[in-house]
Symmetry: C2
Subunit: 330 residues, 2 copies
């Protein structure tokens, strides 16, 4: 038989209400009874039934998390598991729980989220993948479901979000490249429709300009986040123009670029990536890249949404996670 609040009450010779109040550290309970109840709880090794509490308080203290279905994407990108780690770490500190599920299409995700909210399973949700004009985000907004997104959205009005300072990060990368003595620096980035790419491109341009160099459109390529695309873009660059460094927005793209450079027998072209993935670390020589601290992104995402749910006064709407240039050259 499970130990319930009644058992504790009986042993401590108080009513269940009192035990409940002791649990929540209600101010009007005398130290005396508090101690009696604590003793009883310890003696019985009492664990409150969280489900019953959820029902009574109509708060689940649970956050939802929907991962994409694509195993390959998840496996290649440590980003997700790192975000996840950050989230669970903070949630645990605050006695919040995480329900994990997955979804394929955007509609699927909406259906899943709808179910989670409407069935009283979660109080809020953390979105790790935000598309342009994201239907999920729109759905959540329309239904007044609290959520936080990882990655600064286009429209930030009453949105809660965390992100790196992508402008600043790329600015530093390009500055580093220039300090290494390079002057013609190419840029290969993901879709320019994505805010993240936009910001990184701006950082690139600003660094170039500030150092008295010129932004040249023939040095700028837009591709998908894959090795192949990085390879192709680099091949085009090699054919079309000359350059002594490439700044990319993703390690996978960078790997492709490195391969193209090897295959064409080029030398001394500095390539930089983004995200500090293991793939980068184990390149030979290792790639210069940017640590985006994905676990911190998760950590602060959880923090923001939880303080919102707790209606804390101090609760912020956004947070910038620092980045770090990782120079693997010896």
């Amino acid at each position: 038989m499970r130990i319930t609040i009644k058992d504790v009450a009986k042993l401590a010779k108080v009513s269940p209400s009192t035990v409940s109040r002791v649990l929540t550290d209600h101010p009007k309970i005398s130290t005396d009874t508090k101690e009696r109840v604590w003793k009883a709880m310890k003696e019985l090794d009492y664990h409150p039934n969280v489900t019953a509490r959820k029902l009574a308080t109509n708060a689940t203290r649970t956050l939802g998390l929907v991962l994409p279905n694509d195993v390959k994407l998840l496996a290649e990108n440590p980003f997700f598991i790192q975000v996840l780690t950050g989230i669970t770490t903070y949630a645990r500190q605050k006695d919040y729980y995480i329900i994990l599920t997955n979804a394929g299409t955007e509609e699927d995700e909406i259906k899943t989220l709808n179910h989670l909210f409407r069935s009283n399973l979660i109080d809020g949700v953390i979105m790790t993948v935000v598309r342009e004009e994201d239907k999920c985000a729109q759905f959540l907004k329309e239904n007044n479901h609290p959520f936080v997104v990882i990655g600064k959205p286009e429209e930030t009005d009453d949105m809660i979000w965390v992100d790196n300072d992508n402008f600043q990060a790329m600015y530093e990368v390009v500055n580093y490249i220039i300090r290494q003595g390079n002057t013609r620096i190419a840029f290969i980035g993901g879709s320019e429709a994505l805010t993240v790419t936009k910001n990184r491109l701006s950082g690139y341009k600003m660094a170039i300009t500030n150092r008295g160099l010129h932004v040249e459109s023939e040095l700028i390529k837009e591709v998908k986040f894959t090795e192949e695309e990085g390879y192709k873009a680099t091949m085009e660059l090699i054919k079309e123009t000359t350059f002594d460094a490439i700044a990319t927005t993703d390690d996978l793209i960078a790997i492709g670029a490195l391969k193209a450079i090897r295959d064409t027998g080029k030398k001394d072209i500095l390539v930089t990536g983004f995200n500090n993935t293991p793939i980068a670390t184990y390149q030979n020589p290792p790639l210069t890249t940017v640590e985006i601290n994905a676990d911190k992104l998760g950590y602060y995402a959880a923090k923001l949404i939880i303080s919102k749910l707790q209606q804390e006064e101090s609760s912020l709407n956004s947070y910038i996670v620092d980045t770090k240039l990782i120079q693997h050259n010896e």
Copy 2:
């Protein structure tokens, strides 16, 4: 105001009990009322309150999952996120939920699991990391908490587990190596205390013997699952003996081996890994490795524990997930 079972009952002109019975497809409800109730549910867009149901049925339909705290380990090893994907995929099919949390030490994990079970948050747990003489597993067993482990345990009596056939997988690897014309084949594996290493080593030995070759202890090394250890072990091998191939039990070890081979200017030494990590794919040339289908491991782990919890007759106690040799040589 939320739509409850009472609202549905009122609209369908039945009692809440009847609605509840319709929900669970109780056989004694007439098709007539069933349809009336369904219509009412649809009209009100009713979603049952899962929390209330959990309380009433004393079953949470939720599985716990505890990840290690070590971000680096998680990021380098796509294994975890793949397992996770498999789990959520199956769980979703069966309307089960996954609660995710993390823990550092073994004691921490026990504490966490204890809390999850005692607080009525989960019905069962999936263990992804099983140590030798695992205290967690012992704790779960002693307290009669249902669990499944990924990785065949030493003692399999009334344990539920899934695993690859590690013997067979390594047997095939070594056969492949031999078919490529190699005869002196080294083995670098993780701790021999781990069942997984034992089984892979047996597979190695069997393949060697079956092909009429000899097992030589100077060709066998035991290390940790890191690149450095793989590097060191290979350096030792190079110093101490000769060989034309190395079978390792992990891609990271293999990467280290490759590096040692490069650094010493050796040629034509075939190195194989295990786990088919992205790091392997993006090696140059790509590593020959073994796909262990970690997502299937998760999928079947979820399947086994769920059928156990549902007390299905057909429920198995173990499942072997197939592996596949990935030859990246062109």
